[in-house]
């Protein structure tokens, strides 16, 4: 050990000392059996603890808050019940109460449930469309994205490319990468909007900044082939191709 102390490099010395402390800290944090922290009051924090954290005490706290009337707690409690898969119908009831209380996110969650279905809840495109429409009109960007998808494909109503583009635009403005990508596609193809390569590139770039892998790959291909009014640029193409690989490990989450 004295040799470390005589080191001429203070940085290395510090690092060597810390290595010892580090190993200890690892043990310390791993074996500290302190009681869980006092539960927070914030329903969103409680939702994390009750869902991914599997903490029943947090779920009980959330239930109490939901019963106390907070729309946010009702939504969070409903979501945890559905995620746990044991009380899906109860979860739906809480979501409906929250949505009725003006919580757009709760309506959005109802839309997603009816869209994909869940245990005891068959998919119902018309119901999904209803909830997405209400939430999107209240300004929910995620709901606007799914509304765009519904109008594009005719889920729950006859397809309408113009209506799809309109909702993709609302969602894209709210920062939803998947909507920015879909709207860019629409501008590229002239699908419900007038064809506009520059606008498509702007939207692909915006989605790419949000780690949307398919938008990044579209730019890689465009720079390879000189598409969308972009020049052929091998350096840019290679950059975007490598970024595609990277983004695929953590794609922009679907709303």
């Amino acid at each position: 050990m004295p040799s470390i102390c005589r080191s001429n490099n203070p940085g290395r010395l510090g690092a060597a000392l810390l290595a010892g402390v580090l190993a200890l800290a690892g043990i310390a944090w791993a074996s500290r059996a302190a009681p869980p922290d006092g539960l927070p009051d914030d329903p969103l924090q409680l939702q994390v603890l009750a869902d991914a954290g599997r903490q029943d005490a947090a779920l009980a706290r959330l239930k109490a808050l939901a019963e106390g009337g907070s729309p946010l707690a009702r939504r969070a409690f409903g979501q945890v019940l559905i995620a746990r898969g044991t009380q899906v119908q109860d979860g739906l009831d809480w979501l409906r109460q929250a949505a009725d209380g003006g919580d757009a996110e709760a309506g959005f969650q109802l839309g997603k449930l009816y869209r994909s279905g869940a245990t005891g809840v068959p998919p119902n495109a018309a119901q999904a469309l209803h909830h997405f429409t209400a939430a999107a009109r209240a300004g929910h960007a995620g709901a606007a994205y799914y509304l765009g998808i519904a109008w594009r494909n005719g889920y729950g109503a006859p397809a309408d490319a113009g209506e799809a583009a309109r909702w993709f635009r609302a969602s894209a403005a709210g920062g939803v990468a998947a909507a920015q990508f879909m709207l860019a596609n629409a501008y590229r193809e002239g699908d419900g909007v007038a064809r506009d390569n520059a606008e498509a590139v702007r939207l692909y770039t915006e989605a790419a900044e949000r780690e949307h892998p398919e938008a990044i790959q579209t730019l890689a291909m465009a720079y390879t082939h000189g598409e969308l009014g972009l020049p052929q640029d091998p350096a840019q193409a290679r950059h975007y191709l490598m970024e595609t690989a990277h983004a695929l490990k953590h794609p922009a989450l679907q709303p």
């Binding site: 940085g11 043990i27 924090q45 994390v48 699908d191």
Partner: protein, 676 residues
């Protein structure tokens, strides 16, 4: 419990003795005169992704634009410039190249070995680091091993029964990921580094002091989605803001003069939520944060000319490098930049205070103004020479062999030779996944599509061309150009028809009556020319018809396809999520978004079949052109002198008209007789 507490106490004594013995214990070391000044530069690397050497393992070639061996030169320059530096890493460090895959999965590191990336970081004198999202990509046991942390999580032995493996020689901190089992942080949430600094006393003489730098780490809560297969039920994330609010006062109480947030996330000013991905903007508003080292977005900050949305938010000064007044740096990725935050400090009798008027924030590039790159630091590559070579050997290792030349020269006119193997690998992978995990869909047929990604756009060498003989891992990149992941979609027979109609835009509409020459291939890109290559599905493409009416005699197992019948089709994330704007494909039909790349799935498949043959893996043509006699020639372009390959693939009616088509791109002009 008793045992580990004892172990801890003993070890603490040793550590204290070390600190005291070296004279950097807080009670003595901070005893510098009031008014002493010091300059301390924080140096940040981020998103290194195990790019140690300036090398591309798939191309097996040098790539000077990346690599820690050049960042190390920037670090050395900064140490020349500043009297005191503290080198910290932001995370996304241990995953991202063939080298990292090699050490994690191909030839897994033993408990007593140090990861190549950490080896060079130890050598460079790092004093702390954060944990990014990619650290979780290889699962918790691997992360535990290589970081030298014993995790108390479900699925792993009790910490007391785990060996303490070799980690880096510096502390890694992460505050917002907890174990489900213990409800405690997985890593130490923060560390306080007693940094010995050379300073100037009020009398102008040099003195030595200690600055206590507290570092606290955060990773994006979205790891719970991205690495769900490793993390679900084992760990959970807590919100970054409330976590910072909890620990930073603790750090101050323990004497931290400076608090440095190492946040692996970018800036997002939308309403705070505990699960938001990029929480750094909200972290900047937590009381007591002196500096932020950020990352994850692969961007440069500060950067006065940045058009990136996150650096043009209110409160963000992209020239000075501050976020809501907090000095902040993001050092790009793959070692392309080094982040610098220079603080001028004055000891006020109690703590080191920052003279905010003198703070400098920079992201320094490894690329010089003349587009050349700074020189490498030779000791870096030397330190991991054997790991580097082993990775190259691995990439070149044969995984199987092929009895025919697999090429895409004639894929546009029907040769499935470079595509069928990809389709077989995808279909096999998806079918096995569905059987194991989606029993409700077990009755649906699994089909697969892929496209000739390399189809001559850039000229005669822009084709897939794998020679007969051994196939190595780097050949997979030739057979599958894009870094996609396998996705499966659930579609109907009608959807398949629409899909193929879109793909058939690859062709111009041919007028059989024209006696002049007609080009067969349109401007519709080859990467969108999806095709089946299976005996189960058959169709014709009638190029005399307009777009949308070209798919003829579409059959499944010998009978006309039922428009309402459901199928599972294996494809990639690009197509399944809306790439190419195919009808109905926009993510809403995705049944399975796999984490595995098409390339890796292909490599695994080659390892399984071992010998790839034309008969079994390159002869199933699902489609033909509808036969038609044309008055004039129908032509297309491909590499010259390849006619024998078309004949070997059984493509009839092809002739080479001109060995040089005049394009200057090493392409020949071929004709196809559509009546054959």
């Amino acid at each position: 419990m008793t045992a580990s507490r004892h172990e801890l106490t003993t070890a603490c004594l040793i550590a204290s003795a070390l600190l005291a013995g070296c004279g950097s214990d807080s009670s003595t070391a901070t005893r510098v005169p009031t008014g002493t000044t010091a300059t301390l530069a924080l140096l940040e690397t981020t998103d290194l992704h195990t790019n140690v050497v300036s090398y591309d393992y798939f191309k097996l070639a040098e790539d000077k634009s990346l690599g820690f061996e050049r960042t190390a030169t920037l670090i050395a320059q900064a140490r020349q410039e500043f009297p005191n530096t503290l080198l910290l890493d932001n995370g996304d460090t241990i995953q991202g190249t063939a080298l990292s895959d090699y050490q994690a999965t191909v030839s897994p590191l033993s408990c007593s070995q140090t990861l190549a990336m950490y080896k060079v970081m130890n050598a460079a004198g790092y004093e702390g680091g954060g944990i990014g999202n990619h650290e979780f990509n290889y699962g918790l046991p691997f992360l535990s091993q290589v970081t030298g942390n014993r995790f108390n999580v479900a699925g792993m032995a009790e910490p007391s029964a785990q060996p303490t493996c070799k980690g880096p020689d510096f502390p890694l901190v992460l505050a917002n990921v907890n174990s489900v089992k213990s409800a405690q942080p997985l890593f130490q949430p923060y560390a306080i580094i007693a940094k010995t600094v050379t300073a100037t006393g009020p009398d102008g003489k040099a003195v030595t002091g200690t600055v206590k730098v507290g570092i606290i780490g955060f990773t994006p809560p979205a790891i719970m989605s991205w690495d769900k297969r490793w993390l679900d039920g084992k760990v959970y994330t807590v919100g970054v803001k409330e976590t910072a609010e909890k620990y930073i006062p603790e750090m101050r109480a323990k004497g931290a003069d400076l608090v440095v947030v190492i946040s692996h996330g970018g800036l997002d000013d939308s309403t705070y939520s505990p699960s938001m991905e990029n929480g750094s903007y909200h972290l900047s508003k937590v009381a007591g944060v002196d500096a932020m080292l950020i990352g994850h977005s692969h961007q440069i900050f500060p950067n006065a000319t940045s058009t990136v949305a996150q650096f043009n938010l209110p409160g963000v000064d992209k020239t000075a490098g501050t976020v809501n007044g907090v000095p902040t740096v993001m050092a790009n990725y793959w070692g392309k930049h080094l982040g610098v935050i220079k603080f001028d400090l004055t000891y006020n009798g109690k703590t080191w205070a920052i003279d905010k008027t003198k703070t400098v924030v920079q992201a320094r590039s490894a690329q010089n103004a003349d587009k050349t790159y700074v020189a490498v630091t030779p000791s870096i590559a030397a330190a991991i020479a054997s790991e580097h070579q082993a990775t190259i050997d691995y990439v070149k290792t044969p995984v199987g062999s092929t009895d025919f030349e697999m090429s895409s020269f004639f894929a546009d006119v029907g040769d499935p030779g470079a595509i069928e193997l990809v389709n077989q690998a995808q279909a096999d992978y998806v079918a096995r996944y569905v059987a194991a995990n989606l029993p409700q869909y077990a009755a649906l047929p699994v089909l697969s599509v892929s496209a000739p990604f390399k189809s001559g756009f850039a000229g005669g060498t822009d084709y897939t061309d794998v020679a007969q003989g051994n196939m190595a891992i780097n050949n997979a990149a030739d057979l599958y150009l894009y870094p996609n992941t396998v996705y499966a979609v659930k579609v109907t027979g009608a959807d398949i028809r629409n899909w193929l109609e879109t793909a058939a835009k690859r062709f111009n509409q041919i007028n059989p009556a024209l006696s002049t020459q007609q080009e067969l291939i349109s401007s519709f890109p080859g990467y969108n020319f999806d095709m089946f290559t299976s005996p189960d599905i058959r169709y014709e493409i009638d190029v005399t018809q307009p777009v949308g009416s070209r798919i003829v005699n579409l059959q499944y197992k010998g009978i006309a396809i039922d428009p309402a019948k459901e199928f599972i089709v294996a494809t990639n994330n690009y197509r399944a999520s809306g790439g190419g704007s195919f009808p109905g494909l926009d993510g809403s039909k995705t049944l399975y978004a796999s984490p595995d790349t098409n390339r890796d799935v292909l490599i695994q498949y080659i390892k399984t079949v071992k010998t790839v043959t034309r008969a079994a893996n390159g002869a199933d043509r699902s489609w033909h052109f509808t036969k038609v006699t044309t008055a004039g020639p129908v032509v297309f372009h491909s590499a010259p002198g390849k006619l024998a390959l078309a004949q070997a693939a059984g493509i009839a009616g092809i002739t080479q008209l001109q060995a040089d088509d005049g394009s200057g791109k090493s392409l020949a002009l071929y004709a196809i007789d559509l009546s054959k």
